[in-house]
């Protein structure tokens, strides 16, 4: 038994089955991320005025990641073109680039997560707040050391765009002086919750796409010898997914880093 139009496009729809499938899947993905972006809009509009964080993320790293993904979109397209023109070596080269770029993206993202993870806001018993990156936090010692600064009020931490030259230094805080200590994880506030959830889900998509592309580049390439046309279709379909994932980042970057 053979499924019709598994490889050749159906004349009246102009699509082979997998292409119809991936577009439908992407439509549902639009709804998934659409709902998350709506949540972002609603929560941001409903936030207390002046308390929405600005400038908390590293715009340079975000820009680099944007360029990395844009470049990977190009290499994905070129890999597909290479398949179409039956130049398998080129395909291998371009998708190797895609995979390296995806890895670069995830590494940069991982660094950014780590940066937030070790970033602590420490409320002191005297009302001040110490804010900075944790250097020493040994439960056996009765102090912690951060690389950071003191602020008088939590409000001073919200908008970092205007504070161009923040002076930080090593601060040693005895534990008895600590009222509450919390790192910049998703539990810290709504902005970080959105940041981690949205970019986390996006990173999972990057990971999933990388696994598929890695499969086609690695063990899946055997199909090139038996059925190059179907292999090319697979490259195209995975490429469509990859472009969608890139597109999501194009929205995430301004929404989380710039606005």
């Amino acid at each position: 038994m053979e499924i019709p139009y598994a490889v050749q496009p159906r004349p009246d729809t102009g699509l082979y089955n997998a292409k119809a499938g991936i577009w439908l899947f992407l439509a549902s993905e639009v709804m998934l991320f659409g709902a998350l972006f709506s949540a972002y809009v609603l929560l941001r509009v409903g936030a207390v005025p002046g308390e929405w964080p600005h400038g908390w993320l590293n715009v340079t790293l975000g820009t680099i990641n944007t360029l990395v993904l844009a470049l990977s979109a190009i290499t994905t397209l070129l890999a597909w073109v290479a398949c179409k023109t039956r130049q398998f070596d080129k395909f291998k080269f371009f998708h190797a680039c895609t995979l390296l770029l995806a890895l670069t993206f995830l590494c940069i993202k991982g660094y950014e997560y780590h940066d937030k993870w070790i970033h602590y806001e420490i409320q002191l018993t005297d009302g001040r707040i110490a804010d900075g990156h944790m250097l020493e936090n040994n439960p056996k010692e009765d102090y912690v050391v951060i690389e950071g600064r003191y602020v008088a009020d939590e409000k001073d931490l919200y908008d970092l765009r205007a504070q161009k030259d923040i002076k930080t230094g090593e601060i040693k805080i005895p534990r008895p002086q600590i009222k509450e200590m919390e790192n910049y994880g998703p539990w810290h506030n709504t902005y970080l919750a959105l940041y981690f959830t949205l970019t986390g889900l996006h990173a999972l998509h990057i990971l999933g796409g990388s696994i598929v592309i890695g499969y086609l580049w690695g063990p899946g390439r055997r199909m090139w010898k038996t059925d190059p046309e179907r292999f090319t279709n697979r490259v195209e379909v995975s490429g469509l997914f990859w472009h969608f994932v890139d597109l999501v980042w194009i929205f995430l970057f301004p929404v989380l880093y710039l606005m």
Partner: protein, 623 residues
């Protein structure tokens, strides 16, 4: 049931090569029944699993009805078992604790909707029937189909397992409103959310597969307006699942973050739990959850009802022996419902204080969406006119669907208008309303479909006498169960009360201004007995279903109902690949009693001119 011969994996060239040597090799039990990629086996897997879950959901219902009628009294017979399995905190002395009642309530709704009715209506019937009806050899993506079923089973397991964890299953209702869902101290909610994410994944894979199949794999000549209405209904349903479920998945992920990572997506600033300020960052919005939930929740209603309408339409056409009245109106109405169902969701939220203007908008769209629903029901009703009706079991259930769905639909109108809804919201009136839509409505259509397509699946008929017993028993006792709830609701009895409203009854608080009169409280007993009788009425069905697989009367032909649609023009049961030779469709789906034809039905693939005549192309090969 003869297993379809499994010859190849359509998506794996290597297997193709390999399997050509063993073309008639029996793939064995596991490949045939458990890890099958054949749409018919997957359909049967879905159907069987969904019926089991439906029975389980029904048992939860019986336990809840016992608790409502006899609050705090030990459950007869299985009370000790409950205590043993769920522990003395949940079911001390064999009685149902309020917490356990809440988790039964939440899980009854979840199981019935997401694990029973949708998988049965959409996945089981859709899988088995749609590829046959459109003349396709299988679904477009057979292995995705298998993955969809596996995700569904996994989701079901996660849901059921949550009963046995400390603290028990989810207790915040099937709607899982935040912050309640986050503040109940049990991980049942996390299980619920993980289970939902799996079920959503399953339905997503299914929906993509269905739409791609219907778009891509229609047989030559099967134009859009020649599709049986059932296929249209499944097509629209698949779009609803495809586009409405992801927002709930997003919401589920956020609530999971709230529960496990202690974020505050849905937790407002200043939230107090148990009299203490909760340790949360705040800034979230409980209303956001409700919007995202009902953005799925309302299309979901049409996911439940559209396949049912499709089944009823097929059976009515077949048993009135005449074309369905208003085929195009049915199709356009289904499409209109599909579109409109995305913009009515907030009529579930009139009481949330989202604002008058928004309520006005959603009242308007809600009234508009009732129009295509009424058109569909009217078309089905008028189709009966002048027909020479065959009253067999599938037809009885299909006919039962019409008034029952009518009651369910019409009692929904007052709930769609904010002024009336503010009074009726959260009462038993709502329970009665949507159960009339889903239980004697959709589930009757599903029974009809099982009796109708059973001969195609097995080559044998189900017993007609016991089918009738099943129908009349179900019909009477469904009404005994649900009709009194309208009265209870209008008297102001709230839903989700573990004591069945005893604390608001005239007997408990005599002289209070507004209490529930004894006559209304007495209906609880009435409903309990009705529910038990309804359970008994299902026994003939269960026995009939299994007994008939081996011992039922052998179907007279491949087309025992003398139907026109393509699924009956295959061998019985259809082999792997379905059709002996690729069908070519020459006519519309319901050509019954066409004047001048010898038989009173003309199958869709029958050419206008007999095959023996000189070569004339039977119909333009329009795709």
């Amino acid at each position: 049931m003869r297993p379809p011969v499994h010859t190849s994996f359509p998506y794996d060239a290597e297997h193709d090569e390999h399997e050509q040597h063993h073309a008639r090799h029996d793939p064995g039990f596991w490949r045939t029944y458990i890890f099958s990629t054949d749409h018919k086996i997957i359909g049967i897997q879905y159907g069987f699993t969904a019926l089991c879950f439906m029975l389980f959901g029904f048992f939860l219902l019986l336990l809840m009805r016992w608790q409502i009628a006899h609050p705090g009294a030990p459950v007869p017979f299985i009370g000790p078992l409950l205590e043993k399995v769920l522990g003395p905190v949940m079911a001390g002395n064999g009685a149902i604790s309020p917490d356990l009642y809440n988790s039964f309530g939440a899980m009854h709704g979840t199981i019935m909707i997401f694990l029973a009715v949708v998988p049965l209506a959409f996945a089981a019937f859709g899988n088995y029937v749609v590829p046959l009806m459109i003349g396709a050899p299988d679904m477009a993506f057979p292995r995705v189909n298998m993955a969809s079923y596996q995700a569904y089973v996994l989701g079901g397991i996660v849901m059921v397992v949550s009963f046995f964890i400390p603290g028990g299953a989810a207790q915040a209702g099937w709607t899982s409103y935040s912050p309640l869902a986050t503040s109940i101290p049990t991980h049942g909610q996390a299980f619920w959310l993980v289970g939902m994410v799996l079920l959503i994944t399953s339905s997503l894979l299914g929906a993509v597969n269905f739409i791609a199949t219907i778009i891509q794999l229609r047989a030559p000549g099967m134009t859009w307006m020649r599709l049986p209405f059932f296929v249209w209904a499944q097509f629209v349903t698949a779009f609803l699942l495809l586009l409405a479920f992801p927002p709930l998945e997003a919401a589920g992920i956020m609530q999971l973050m709230d529960n496990l990572a202690h974020t505050s997506f849905f937790l407002p600033t200043g939230l107090a739990i148990g009299g203490h300020l909760a340790h949360v960052s705040g800034g979230g919005s409980p209303l956001l959850w409700q919007h995202l939930f009902w953005f799925l929740g309302h299309p979901e209603v049409y996911v439940l009802i559209l396949p049912a309408m499709g089944i009823v339409c097929e059976i009515l056409a077949n048993n009135t022996r005449k074309p369905i009245w208003g085929y195009k109106s049915l199709v356009y109405s289904a499409l209109a419902i599909g579109f409109l169902s995305f913009i009515v969701w907030a009529h579930h939220m009139y009481l949330t204080g989202m604002g008058q203007k928004i309520a006005t908008f959603f009242q308007t769209t809600t009234m508009i969406i009732s129009i295509p629903s009424v058109i569909i029901l009217t078309c089905l009703l008028i189709s009966l006119w002048g027909g020479s009706i065959r009253f067999n079991t599938p037809m009885l259930f299909a006919l039962g669907f019409l008034p029952m769905f009518g009651i369910g639909g019409l009692t929904g109108l007052p709930l769609g208008l904010a002024p009336a809804d503010i009074y009726l919201h959260d009462t038993y009136y709502v329970i009665a309303h949507f159960h009339y839509v889903v239980a004697p409505g959709t589930i009757f259509a599903l029974f009809a479909g099982i009796y109708y397509w059973f001969p195609k699946m097995t080559g044998r008929m189900m017993n007609e006498f016991w089918g009738r017993v099943h129908f009349w028993g179900s019909f009477v006792f469904m009404n005994v169960v649900f009709m009194p709830m309208f009265a209870q609701g209008m008297e102001g009895m709230l839903r989700r009360m573990a004591d069945g409203g005893v604390n608001y009854s005239a007997a408990r608080v005599p002289g209070a201004l507004a209490t529930l009169p004894n006559s209304i409280m007495a209906l609880h007993t009435w409903i309990l007995w009705g529910a038990m009788a309804l359970g008994l009425a299902q026994i003939p069905f269960i026995i009939n279903l299994f007994w008939s697989i081996k011992h039922g009367e052998v179907a007279k032909s491949d087309n025992p109902w003398q139907s026109t649609t393509l699924e009956w023009q295959t061998p019985t049961p259809p082999p792997h690949g379905n059709f002996d030779r690729p069908p070519r469709v020459c006519r519309s789906p319901y050509e019954y009693s066409v004047p001048g034809h010898a038989a009173d039905f003309t199958p869709q693939n029958e050419p206008d001119i007999p095959m023996t005549a000189p070569k004339i192309s039977p119909a333009p090969a329009v795709h």
